[in-house]
Subunit: 289 residues, 2 copies
Amino acid sequence: MMTRPLTVAAAQLGPSSPSKAQAVERMVALMEEAGERGVEFLSFPELSLTPYFATKVHESWDEFFEETLPSPVTLPLFQAARRTRIHFVLPYAERENGGYYNSAASIAPDGTLLGKYRKTHIPGWVEPRWEGLNILEKRYFSGGNLGFPVAALPKVQMGTLICYDRRFSEGYRALALGGAELICVPYNTPSFGQPRETGQETSEVLLRAAAIENQLFIIAVGKAGVEDGAEYIGGSEIISPTGKVLAKAQTEGDELVTATIDLAEITALKNKWDLLADRRPEIYHQLIQ
Amino acid sequence: MMTRPLTVAAAQLGPSSPSKAQAVERMVALMEEAGERGVEFLSFPELSLTPYFATKVHESWDEFFEETLPSPVTLPLFQAARRTRIHFVLPYAERENGGYYNSAASIAPDGTLLGKYRKTHIPGWVEPRWEGLNILEKRYFSGGNLGFPVAALPKVQMGTLICYDRRFSEGYRALALGGAELICVPYNTPSFGQPRETGQETSEVLLRAAAIENQLFIIAVGKAGVEDGAEYIGGSEIISPTGKVLAKAQTEGDELVTATIDLAEITALKNKWDLLADRRPEIYHQLIQ
Protein backbone atom coordinates (compact mmCIF):
# COMPACT_ATOMS: atom_id res chain seq x y z
CA MET A 1 0.00 0.00 0.00
CA MET A 2 1.26 3.46 -0.89
CA THR A 3 2.09 5.67 2.06
CA ARG A 4 1.40 9.40 2.30
CA PRO A 5 3.82 10.63 4.95
CA LEU A 6 3.59 14.19 6.24
CA THR A 7 5.73 15.63 9.01
CA VAL A 8 3.62 17.97 11.09
CA ALA A 9 4.13 20.10 14.19
CA ALA A 10 2.17 21.74 16.95
CA ALA A 11 4.17 24.87 17.77
CA GLN A 12 3.13 25.42 21.39
CA LEU A 13 3.73 28.88 22.82
CA GLY A 14 4.35 29.91 26.41
CA PRO A 15 2.94 33.14 27.88
CA SER A 16 2.74 36.07 25.46
CA SER A 17 5.55 38.54 24.88
CA PRO A 18 5.30 42.28 25.64
CA SER A 19 5.01 43.05 21.92
CA LYS A 20 3.82 41.35 18.74
CA ALA A 21 7.32 41.73 17.30
CA GLN A 22 8.73 39.72 20.20
CA ALA A 23 6.01 37.07 19.80
CA VAL A 24 6.83 36.80 16.10
CA GLU A 25 10.52 36.42 16.95
CA ARG A 26 9.73 33.38 19.12
CA MET A 27 7.44 31.96 16.44
CA VAL A 28 10.14 32.37 13.81
CA ALA A 29 12.56 30.49 16.10
CA LEU A 30 10.06 27.61 16.27
CA MET A 31 9.69 27.64 12.49
CA GLU A 32 13.46 27.53 12.05
CA GLU A 33 13.65 24.55 14.42
CA ALA A 34 10.77 22.94 12.54
CA GLY A 35 12.62 23.41 9.28
CA GLU A 36 15.66 21.65 10.72
CA ARG A 37 13.46 18.77 11.86
CA GLY A 38 11.89 18.29 8.44
CA VAL A 39 8.46 19.66 9.35
CA GLU A 40 6.23 20.36 6.33
CA PHE A 41 3.15 21.67 8.12
CA LEU A 42 2.85 23.55 11.39
CA SER A 43 0.18 25.28 13.46
CA PHE A 44 0.52 27.96 16.13
CA PRO A 45 -1.97 28.42 19.03
CA GLU A 46 -5.10 30.58 19.04
CA LEU A 47 -4.44 34.36 18.88
CA SER A 48 -0.76 33.57 18.58
CA LEU A 49 0.43 37.16 18.19
CA THR A 50 -1.11 38.58 21.38
CA PRO A 51 -2.01 37.75 24.96
CA TYR A 52 -5.36 36.00 25.41
CA PHE A 53 -6.83 39.47 25.82
CA ALA A 54 -10.47 38.31 26.10
CA THR A 55 -10.11 37.58 29.83
CA LYS A 56 -10.90 41.15 30.82
CA VAL A 57 -12.25 44.55 29.76
CA HIS A 58 -9.93 46.75 27.72
CA GLU A 59 -10.31 50.47 27.00
CA SER A 60 -9.21 49.86 23.42
CA TRP A 61 -8.56 46.65 21.55
CA ASP A 62 -7.80 47.54 17.94
CA GLU A 63 -4.12 47.09 18.76
CA PHE A 64 -4.68 43.33 19.12
CA PHE A 65 -6.14 42.97 15.61
CA GLU A 66 -4.57 42.66 12.15
CA GLU A 67 -6.27 44.11 9.08
CA THR A 68 -4.02 42.54 6.47
CA LEU A 69 -1.68 39.58 6.18
CA PRO A 70 1.20 39.88 6.03
CA SER A 71 1.14 43.01 8.15
CA PRO A 72 4.56 44.64 8.77
CA VAL A 73 4.82 42.89 12.14
CA THR A 74 3.93 39.42 10.78
CA LEU A 75 6.15 39.64 7.70
CA PRO A 76 9.05 37.73 9.36
CA LEU A 77 6.73 34.68 9.68
CA PHE A 78 6.09 34.73 5.94
CA GLN A 79 9.80 35.07 5.29
CA ALA A 80 10.56 32.17 7.62
CA ALA A 81 7.96 30.01 5.86
CA ARG A 82 9.60 30.76 2.55
CA ARG A 83 13.05 29.86 3.93
CA THR A 84 11.88 26.65 5.63
CA ARG A 85 9.28 25.72 2.98
CA ILE A 86 6.68 25.15 5.66
CA HIS A 87 2.92 25.47 5.28
CA PHE A 88 1.63 27.10 8.46
CA VAL A 89 -1.59 27.99 10.26
CA LEU A 90 -1.51 31.46 11.83
CA PRO A 91 -4.30 32.12 14.34
CA TYR A 92 -4.82 35.82 14.98
CA ALA A 93 -7.35 38.50 15.83
CA GLU A 94 -8.76 39.70 12.51
CA ARG A 95 -10.45 43.01 11.74
CA GLU A 96 -12.16 43.33 8.38
CA ASN A 97 -14.68 45.98 7.29
CA GLY A 98 -15.60 46.75 10.88
CA GLY A 99 -15.99 43.05 11.72
CA TYR A 100 -13.86 41.51 14.48
CA TYR A 101 -13.10 37.79 14.31
CA ASN A 102 -11.04 35.15 16.07
CA SER A 103 -9.42 33.74 12.93
CA ALA A 104 -6.80 31.42 11.54
CA ALA A 105 -5.11 31.67 8.14
CA SER A 106 -3.57 28.72 6.28
CA ILE A 107 -0.53 30.00 4.46
CA ALA A 108 1.70 28.36 1.83
CA PRO A 109 5.51 28.68 1.95
CA ASP A 110 5.33 31.29 -0.84
CA GLY A 111 2.90 33.40 1.20
CA THR A 112 -0.27 32.43 -0.67
CA LEU A 113 -3.35 32.44 1.56
CA LEU A 114 -4.82 28.93 1.05
CA GLY A 115 -7.69 29.27 3.49
CA LYS A 116 -9.14 31.33 6.28
CA TYR A 117 -11.36 30.23 9.12
CA ARG A 118 -13.25 32.37 11.61
CA LYS A 119 -14.07 30.80 14.99
CA THR A 120 -17.70 29.68 14.90
CA HIS A 121 -18.54 29.20 18.56
CA ILE A 122 -17.78 32.24 20.71
CA PRO A 123 -17.54 31.47 24.42
CA GLY A 124 -18.33 33.56 27.45
CA TRP A 125 -19.99 36.89 27.92
CA VAL A 126 -19.97 40.57 27.02
CA GLU A 127 -19.69 41.85 30.59
CA PRO A 128 -17.55 40.38 33.38
CA ARG A 129 -19.39 37.98 35.66
CA TRP A 130 -16.98 37.95 38.57
CA GLU A 131 -13.67 39.29 39.87
CA GLY A 132 -10.52 38.01 38.19
CA LEU A 133 -10.41 35.87 35.07
CA ASN A 134 -13.47 36.16 32.81
CA ILE A 135 -14.09 34.85 29.32
CA LEU A 136 -15.34 37.84 27.34
CA GLU A 137 -14.98 36.67 23.75
CA LYS A 138 -18.54 37.79 23.02
CA ARG A 139 -17.34 41.32 23.82
CA TYR A 140 -14.56 41.24 21.24
CA PHE A 141 -15.52 38.80 18.49
CA SER A 142 -18.40 38.14 16.13
CA GLY A 143 -19.24 34.53 15.35
CA GLY A 144 -17.46 33.19 12.28
CA ASN A 145 -19.30 33.62 8.99
CA LEU A 146 -17.13 31.54 6.67
CA GLY A 147 -18.58 28.14 7.56
CA PHE A 148 -16.13 25.25 7.90
CA PRO A 149 -13.75 25.62 4.94
CA VAL A 150 -11.39 22.84 3.92
CA ALA A 151 -8.09 24.07 2.45
CA ALA A 152 -6.44 22.05 -0.30
CA LEU A 153 -2.75 21.96 0.53
CA PRO A 154 -0.45 20.12 -1.89
CA LYS A 155 -0.18 17.10 0.43
CA VAL A 156 -3.32 17.23 2.60
CA GLN A 157 -6.89 18.48 2.87
CA MET A 158 -7.05 20.43 6.11
CA GLY A 159 -9.47 22.43 8.20
CA THR A 160 -9.30 24.44 11.40
CA LEU A 161 -11.42 24.69 14.53
CA ILE A 162 -10.51 27.15 17.26
CA CYS A 163 -10.53 26.39 21.00
CA TYR A 164 -14.19 26.43 22.16
CA ASP A 165 -15.18 24.96 18.77
CA ARG A 166 -13.66 21.69 19.95
CA ARG A 167 -16.65 21.20 22.27
CA PHE A 168 -19.05 21.12 19.30
CA SER A 169 -19.05 17.91 17.23
CA GLU A 170 -20.80 19.72 14.38
CA GLY A 171 -17.62 21.49 13.31
CA TYR A 172 -15.45 18.39 13.06
CA ARG A 173 -18.27 16.68 11.19
CA ALA A 174 -18.71 19.47 8.66
CA LEU A 175 -14.97 19.43 7.99
CA ALA A 176 -14.94 15.63 7.60
CA LEU A 177 -17.87 15.83 5.18
CA GLY A 178 -15.88 18.46 3.29
CA GLY A 179 -13.03 15.99 2.89
CA ALA A 180 -10.67 17.10 5.66
CA GLU A 181 -7.94 14.61 6.54
CA LEU A 182 -6.34 16.83 9.16
CA ILE A 183 -7.86 19.33 11.56
CA CYS A 184 -5.83 21.94 13.43
CA VAL A 185 -7.22 23.01 16.77
CA PRO A 186 -5.39 26.05 18.12
CA TYR A 187 -6.48 27.02 21.64
CA ASN A 188 -5.96 29.29 24.64
CA THR A 189 -7.50 27.39 27.53
CA PRO A 190 -7.09 28.63 31.12
CA SER A 191 -6.99 25.90 33.77
CA PHE A 192 -9.52 27.82 35.91
CA GLY A 193 -7.87 26.88 39.18
CA GLN A 194 -7.89 23.14 38.43
CA PRO A 195 -4.67 21.22 37.82
CA ARG A 196 -3.70 21.77 34.18
CA GLU A 197 -3.81 17.98 33.69
CA THR A 198 -7.57 18.09 34.35
CA GLY A 199 -8.11 20.59 31.56
CA GLN A 200 -5.78 18.65 29.28
CA GLU A 201 -7.76 15.47 29.97
CA THR A 202 -11.10 17.06 29.02
CA SER A 203 -9.61 18.56 25.87
CA GLU A 204 -7.94 15.28 24.94
CA VAL A 205 -11.10 13.21 25.36
CA LEU A 206 -13.03 15.55 23.07
CA LEU A 207 -10.27 15.56 20.45
CA ARG A 208 -9.67 11.81 20.51
CA ALA A 209 -13.40 11.13 20.12
CA ALA A 210 -13.58 13.56 17.18
CA ALA A 211 -10.58 11.89 15.50
CA ILE A 212 -12.12 8.42 15.92
CA GLU A 213 -15.60 9.47 14.84
CA ASN A 214 -14.41 11.35 11.77
CA GLN A 215 -11.42 9.14 10.92
CA LEU A 216 -8.88 11.94 10.59
CA PHE A 217 -5.76 13.36 12.21
CA ILE A 218 -5.84 16.25 14.68
CA ILE A 219 -3.12 18.72 15.65
CA ALA A 220 -4.09 20.47 18.88
CA VAL A 221 -1.88 23.36 19.83
CA GLY A 222 -2.27 25.53 22.89
CA LYS A 223 -0.82 28.23 25.01
CA ALA A 224 1.05 27.02 28.10
CA GLY A 225 2.34 28.54 31.29
CA VAL A 226 1.13 31.49 33.36
CA GLU A 227 0.08 34.66 31.53
CA ASP A 228 -1.32 37.71 33.31
CA GLY A 229 -1.86 35.63 36.46
CA ALA A 230 -3.78 32.81 34.75
CA GLU A 231 -2.40 29.35 34.00
CA TYR A 232 -3.02 27.85 30.55
CA ILE A 233 -3.33 24.10 30.05
CA GLY A 234 -0.77 23.62 27.25
CA GLY A 235 -0.58 19.89 26.49
CA SER A 236 -0.34 20.38 22.72
CA GLU A 237 -0.66 17.05 20.93
CA ILE A 238 -1.02 15.17 17.68
CA ILE A 239 -3.77 12.53 17.45
CA SER A 240 -4.30 9.67 14.98
CA PRO A 241 -7.61 8.63 13.33
CA THR A 242 -7.91 5.78 15.82
CA GLY A 243 -7.64 8.25 18.70
CA LYS A 244 -4.03 7.50 19.61
CA VAL A 245 -1.91 10.35 20.99
CA LEU A 246 1.16 10.26 18.76
CA ALA A 247 3.09 13.08 20.43
CA LYS A 248 2.43 15.48 23.29
CA ALA A 249 4.11 18.57 24.75
CA GLN A 250 6.36 17.96 27.74
CA THR A 251 6.85 21.57 28.84
CA GLU A 252 4.89 24.66 29.86
CA GLY A 253 6.61 26.89 27.34
CA ASP A 254 7.52 27.31 23.67
CA GLU A 255 7.85 23.76 22.34
CA LEU A 256 7.74 22.06 18.99
CA VAL A 257 5.71 18.84 19.11
CA THR A 258 6.25 16.84 15.93
CA ALA A 259 5.16 13.61 14.33
CA THR A 260 5.37 12.06 10.91
CA ILE A 261 1.85 10.95 10.16
CA ASP A 262 0.76 8.67 7.30
CA LEU A 263 -2.38 10.01 5.64
CA ALA A 264 -2.82 6.63 3.92
CA GLU A 265 -3.90 5.32 7.33
CA ILE A 266 -7.22 7.10 6.74
CA THR A 267 -7.80 5.29 3.44
CA ALA A 268 -6.91 1.94 5.04
CA LEU A 269 -9.34 2.60 7.91
CA LYS A 270 -12.16 3.63 5.58
CA ASN A 271 -11.60 0.65 3.31
CA LYS A 272 -12.16 -1.52 6.36
CA TRP A 273 -14.96 0.50 7.89
CA ASP A 274 -16.27 3.77 6.46
CA LEU A 275 -18.13 5.47 9.27
CA LEU A 276 -19.37 8.46 7.27
CA ALA A 277 -21.10 6.09 4.82
CA ASP A 278 -23.35 4.85 7.62
CA ARG A 279 -24.63 8.28 8.63
CA ARG A 280 -28.41 8.94 8.35
CA PRO A 281 -28.59 12.67 7.44
CA GLU A 282 -32.29 12.33 6.54
CA ILE A 283 -33.11 12.06 10.25
CA TYR A 284 -30.69 14.66 11.63
CA HIS A 285 -33.03 17.62 11.00
CA GLN A 286 -33.13 18.56 14.71
CA LEU A 287 -29.48 19.56 14.48
CA ILE A 288 -30.15 22.56 12.29
CA GLN A 289 -33.26 23.85 14.06
CA MET B 1 -29.31 23.67 45.98
CA MET B 2 -31.90 20.93 45.62
CA THR B 3 -30.55 17.54 44.65
CA ARG B 4 -32.22 15.11 42.26
CA PRO B 5 -30.73 11.74 43.17
CA LEU B 6 -31.42 8.69 41.02
CA THR B 7 -29.95 5.26 41.60
CA VAL B 8 -29.20 3.67 38.25
CA ALA B 9 -27.68 0.42 37.03
CA ALA B 10 -26.00 -1.04 34.00
CA ALA B 11 -27.03 -4.70 34.05
CA GLN B 12 -24.14 -6.25 32.13
CA LEU B 13 -24.72 -9.73 30.72
CA GLY B 14 -22.22 -12.48 30.01
CA PRO B 15 -22.51 -14.76 26.96
CA SER B 16 -26.08 -15.63 25.93
CA SER B 17 -28.03 -18.58 27.29
CA PRO B 18 -29.25 -21.50 25.16
CA SER B 19 -32.83 -20.17 25.33
CA LYS B 20 -34.59 -16.84 25.79
CA ALA B 21 -36.27 -18.24 28.90
CA GLN B 22 -32.86 -18.86 30.45
CA ALA B 23 -31.65 -15.38 29.46
CA VAL B 24 -34.74 -13.88 31.07
CA GLU B 25 -34.06 -15.87 34.22
CA ARG B 26 -30.60 -14.31 34.52
CA MET B 27 -32.01 -10.87 33.79
CA VAL B 28 -34.66 -11.31 36.47
CA ALA B 29 -31.92 -12.26 38.95
CA LEU B 30 -30.11 -8.99 38.14
CA MET B 31 -33.36 -7.03 38.60
CA GLU B 32 -33.94 -8.68 41.97
CA GLU B 33 -30.40 -7.76 43.05
CA ALA B 34 -31.00 -4.25 41.73
CA GLY B 35 -34.17 -4.00 43.79
CA GLU B 36 -32.23 -4.96 46.91
CA ARG B 37 -29.63 -2.30 46.13
CA GLY B 38 -32.22 0.47 45.74
CA VAL B 39 -31.90 0.80 41.98
CA GLU B 40 -34.69 2.85 40.37
CA PHE B 41 -33.62 2.65 36.74
CA LEU B 42 -31.75 -0.08 34.88
CA SER B 43 -30.67 -0.94 31.36
CA PHE B 44 -29.77 -4.29 29.82
CA PRO B 45 -27.34 -4.69 26.85
CA GLU B 46 -28.23 -4.66 23.15
CA LEU B 47 -30.31 -7.64 21.96
CA SER B 48 -30.44 -8.81 25.56
CA LEU B 49 -32.68 -11.84 24.96
CA THR B 50 -30.58 -13.55 22.32
CA PRO B 51 -27.03 -14.18 21.17
CA TYR B 52 -25.52 -11.43 19.03
CA PHE B 53 -26.83 -13.36 16.05
CA ALA B 54 -25.78 -10.81 13.42
CA THR B 55 -22.23 -12.21 13.30
CA LYS B 56 -23.16 -14.85 10.72
CA VAL B 57 -25.71 -16.10 8.20
CA HIS B 58 -28.74 -17.92 9.59
CA GLU B 59 -31.23 -20.06 7.66
CA SER B 60 -34.06 -18.50 9.63
CA TRP B 61 -34.06 -15.64 12.11
CA ASP B 62 -37.66 -14.98 13.10
CA GLU B 63 -36.97 -16.93 16.30
CA PHE B 64 -34.71 -14.11 17.50
CA PHE B 65 -37.43 -11.46 17.16
CA GLU B 66 -40.35 -10.41 19.39
CA GLU B 67 -43.60 -9.14 17.90
CA THR B 68 -45.18 -7.92 21.11
CA LEU B 69 -44.09 -6.86 24.58
CA PRO B 70 -44.57 -8.49 26.94
CA SER B 71 -44.33 -11.70 24.98
CA PRO B 72 -44.86 -14.89 26.98
CA VAL B 73 -41.11 -15.38 27.33
CA THR B 74 -40.43 -11.78 28.48
CA LEU B 75 -43.35 -11.64 30.94
CA PRO B 76 -41.13 -12.52 33.96
CA LEU B 77 -39.16 -9.29 33.35
CA PHE B 78 -42.34 -7.24 33.56
CA GLN B 79 -43.33 -9.07 36.73
CA ALA B 80 -39.89 -8.46 38.25
CA ALA B 81 -40.12 -4.75 37.40
CA ARG B 82 -43.47 -4.58 39.17
CA ARG B 83 -42.05 -6.34 42.26
CA THR B 84 -38.88 -4.24 42.39
CA ARG B 85 -40.50 -1.00 41.16
CA ILE B 86 -37.73 -0.53 38.63
CA HIS B 87 -37.96 1.36 35.33
CA PHE B 88 -36.00 -0.63 32.78
CA VAL B 89 -34.67 -0.48 29.24
CA LEU B 90 -35.11 -3.75 27.36
CA PRO B 91 -33.10 -3.98 24.12
CA TYR B 92 -34.41 -6.68 21.80
CA ALA B 93 -34.86 -7.72 18.18
CA GLU B 94 -38.24 -6.31 17.11
CA ARG B 95 -40.48 -7.46 14.28
CA GLU B 96 -43.42 -5.25 13.37
CA ASN B 97 -45.53 -5.34 10.21
CA GLY B 98 -42.78 -7.11 8.29
CA GLY B 99 -40.13 -4.64 9.52
CA TYR B 100 -37.13 -5.90 11.48
CA TYR B 101 -35.42 -3.54 13.92
CA ASN B 102 -32.70 -3.52 16.55
CA SER B 103 -34.80 -1.87 19.25
CA ALA B 104 -34.98 -0.89 22.90
CA ALA B 105 -38.13 -0.34 24.94
CA SER B 106 -38.33 1.87 28.05
CA ILE B 107 -40.75 0.25 30.43
CA ALA B 108 -42.31 1.52 33.67
CA PRO B 109 -42.65 -0.72 36.75
CA ASP B 110 -46.35 -1.19 35.98
CA GLY B 111 -45.52 -2.43 32.46
CA THR B 112 -46.39 0.76 30.60
CA LEU B 113 -44.28 1.30 27.49
CA LEU B 114 -42.83 4.82 27.98
CA GLY B 115 -40.71 4.89 24.87
CA LYS B 116 -39.28 2.85 22.06
CA TYR B 117 -36.13 3.44 20.07
CA ARG B 118 -34.95 1.70 16.91
CA LYS B 119 -31.20 1.67 16.22
CA THR B 120 -30.46 4.37 13.67
CA HIS B 121 -27.02 3.42 12.41
CA ILE B 122 -26.79 -0.16 11.16
CA PRO B 123 -23.23 -1.48 10.95
CA GLY B 124 -21.66 -4.01 8.66
CA TRP B 125 -22.83 -5.78 5.54
CA VAL B 126 -25.49 -8.01 4.03
CA GLU B 127 -23.11 -10.75 2.90
CA PRO B 128 -20.10 -12.10 4.83
CA ARG B 129 -16.80 -10.49 3.89
CA TRP B 130 -14.46 -13.08 5.36
CA GLU B 131 -14.26 -16.35 7.30
CA GLY B 132 -15.26 -16.24 10.94
CA LEU B 133 -16.86 -13.29 12.70
CA ASN B 134 -18.72 -10.87 10.45
CA ILE B 135 -21.00 -7.97 11.28
CA LEU B 136 -24.14 -8.56 9.21
CA GLU B 137 -26.64 -6.20 10.83
CA LYS B 138 -27.60 -4.85 7.42
CA ARG B 139 -28.81 -8.39 6.62
CA TYR B 140 -31.16 -8.54 9.57
CA PHE B 141 -32.20 -5.00 10.48
CA SER B 142 -33.68 -1.94 8.84
CA GLY B 143 -32.46 1.45 10.00
CA GLY B 144 -34.52 2.94 12.78
CA ASN B 145 -37.44 5.12 11.71
CA LEU B 146 -38.51 6.61 15.04
CA GLY B 147 -35.92 9.37 15.21
CA PHE B 148 -34.29 10.03 18.58
CA PRO B 149 -37.18 9.96 21.07
CA VAL B 150 -36.81 11.21 24.64
CA ALA B 151 -38.92 9.34 27.19
CA ALA B 152 -40.34 11.24 30.13
CA LEU B 153 -39.84 9.02 33.16
CA PRO B 154 -41.12 10.31 36.50
CA LYS B 155 -37.63 11.26 37.66
CA VAL B 156 -35.63 11.74 34.46
CA GLN B 157 -35.81 12.56 30.76
CA MET B 158 -34.00 9.71 29.01
CA GLY B 159 -33.08 8.50 25.56
CA THR B 160 -31.37 5.48 24.06
CA LEU B 161 -28.65 4.93 21.46
CA ILE B 162 -27.64 1.40 20.51
CA CYS B 163 -24.04 0.20 20.05
CA TYR B 164 -22.81 1.50 16.66
CA ASP B 165 -24.92 4.65 17.23
CA ARG B 166 -22.34 5.69 19.82
CA ARG B 167 -19.88 6.47 17.00
CA PHE B 168 -22.22 9.16 15.60
CA SER B 169 -22.36 12.42 17.55
CA GLU B 170 -25.60 13.37 15.80
CA GLY B 171 -27.65 10.98 17.94
CA TYR B 172 -26.42 12.20 21.31
CA ARG B 173 -26.94 15.77 20.08
CA ALA B 174 -30.52 15.16 18.93
CA LEU B 175 -31.33 13.60 22.31
CA ALA B 176 -29.73 16.50 24.20
CA LEU B 177 -31.70 18.98 22.11
CA GLY B 178 -34.81 16.97 22.98
CA GLY B 179 -34.10 17.47 26.67
CA ALA B 180 -32.44 14.16 27.57
CA GLU B 181 -30.59 14.15 30.89
CA LEU B 182 -29.59 10.51 30.67
CA ILE B 183 -28.71 8.36 27.67
CA CYS B 184 -28.58 4.57 27.79
CA VAL B 185 -26.16 2.94 25.37
CA PRO B 186 -26.69 -0.82 25.23
CA TYR B 187 -24.09 -2.60 23.09
CA ASN B 188 -22.71 -5.92 21.84
CA THR B 189 -19.15 -5.14 20.80
CA PRO B 190 -16.75 -7.91 19.80
CA SER B 191 -13.09 -7.26 20.61
CA PHE B 192 -12.07 -8.35 17.08
CA GLY B 193 -8.88 -10.05 18.25
CA GLN B 194 -7.62 -7.00 20.16
CA PRO B 195 -7.39 -6.98 23.96
CA ARG B 196 -10.86 -6.17 25.30
CA GLU B 197 -9.34 -3.15 27.09
CA THR B 198 -8.55 -1.61 23.68
CA GLY B 199 -12.18 -1.83 22.63
CA GLN B 200 -13.30 -0.55 26.02
CA GLU B 201 -10.97 2.43 25.68
CA THR B 202 -12.36 3.43 22.27
CA SER B 203 -15.92 3.07 23.51
CA GLU B 204 -15.17 5.01 26.67
CA VAL B 205 -13.53 7.94 24.85
CA LEU B 206 -16.56 8.32 22.59
CA LEU B 207 -19.00 8.12 25.50
CA ARG B 208 -17.07 10.49 27.77
CA ALA B 209 -16.80 13.06 24.98
CA ALA B 210 -20.55 12.78 24.31
CA ALA B 211 -21.34 13.25 28.00
CA ILE B 212 -19.09 16.34 28.23
CA GLU B 213 -20.32 17.86 25.00
CA ASN B 214 -24.00 17.34 25.79
CA GLN B 215 -23.80 17.80 29.57
CA LEU B 216 -25.69 14.64 30.49
CA PHE B 217 -25.24 11.26 32.15
CA ILE B 218 -24.60 8.07 30.19
CA ILE B 219 -25.21 4.44 31.14
CA ALA B 220 -23.26 2.18 28.81
CA VAL B 221 -24.09 -1.50 29.15
CA GLY B 222 -22.55 -4.28 27.16
CA LYS B 223 -22.20 -7.97 26.66
CA ALA B 224 -19.07 -9.50 28.20
CA GLY B 225 -17.18 -12.76 27.90
CA VAL B 226 -16.85 -15.24 25.03
CA GLU B 227 -19.97 -16.10 23.02
CA ASP B 228 -19.90 -18.42 20.02
CA GLY B 229 -16.09 -18.14 19.87
CA ALA B 230 -15.99 -14.33 19.91
CA GLU B 231 -14.96 -12.18 22.88
CA TYR B 232 -17.11 -9.17 23.79
CA ILE B 233 -15.61 -6.08 25.39
CA GLY B 234 -17.92 -5.71 28.41
CA GLY B 235 -16.70 -2.80 30.49
CA SER B 236 -20.18 -1.49 31.27
CA GLU B 237 -20.00 1.91 32.93
CA ILE B 238 -21.80 4.98 34.20
CA ILE B 239 -20.46 8.38 33.13
CA SER B 240 -21.09 11.87 34.54
CA PRO B 241 -21.75 15.09 32.57
CA THR B 242 -18.13 16.13 33.13
CA GLY B 243 -16.95 12.86 31.59
CA LYS B 244 -16.04 11.12 34.84
CA VAL B 245 -16.44 7.33 35.01
CA LEU B 246 -18.53 6.87 38.15
CA ALA B 247 -18.66 3.07 38.12
CA LYS B 248 -17.38 0.35 35.82
CA ALA B 249 -17.83 -3.41 35.50
CA GLN B 250 -15.12 -5.54 37.10
CA THR B 251 -16.05 -8.90 35.57
CA GLU B 252 -16.61 -10.58 32.21
CA GLY B 253 -20.04 -11.91 33.17
CA ASP B 254 -23.44 -10.93 34.52
CA GLU B 255 -22.82 -7.95 36.76
CA LEU B 256 -24.82 -5.09 38.18
CA VAL B 257 -22.91 -1.79 37.93
CA THR B 258 -24.65 0.86 40.00
CA ALA B 259 -24.30 4.52 40.95
CA THR B 260 -26.46 7.12 42.58
CA ILE B 261 -26.29 10.08 40.23
CA ASP B 262 -27.50 13.60 41.00
CA LEU B 263 -29.39 15.03 38.03
CA ALA B 264 -29.12 18.50 39.60
CA GLU B 265 -25.45 18.39 38.58
CA ILE B 266 -26.63 19.09 35.03
CA THR B 267 -28.49 22.24 36.08
CA ALA B 268 -25.48 23.43 38.08
CA LEU B 269 -23.18 22.86 35.08
CA LYS B 270 -25.52 24.65 32.67
CA ASN B 271 -25.99 27.59 35.03
CA LYS B 272 -22.23 28.00 34.93
CA TRP B 273 -21.74 27.27 31.24
CA ASP B 274 -24.56 26.24 28.88
CA LEU B 275 -22.88 24.65 25.87
CA LEU B 276 -26.05 24.07 23.85
CA ALA B 277 -26.81 27.81 24.00
CA ASP B 278 -23.62 28.55 22.06
CA ARG B 279 -24.42 26.26 19.12
CA ARG B 280 -24.75 27.84 15.63
CA PRO B 281 -27.42 25.69 13.93
CA GLU B 282 -27.76 28.23 11.11
CA ILE B 283 -24.39 27.11 9.76
CA TYR B 284 -24.72 23.34 10.31
CA HIS B 285 -26.61 22.70 7.05
CA GLN B 286 -23.90 20.34 5.73
CA LEU B 287 -24.84 17.85 8.43
CA ILE B 288 -28.21 17.06 6.90
CA GLN B 289 -27.14 16.91 3.25
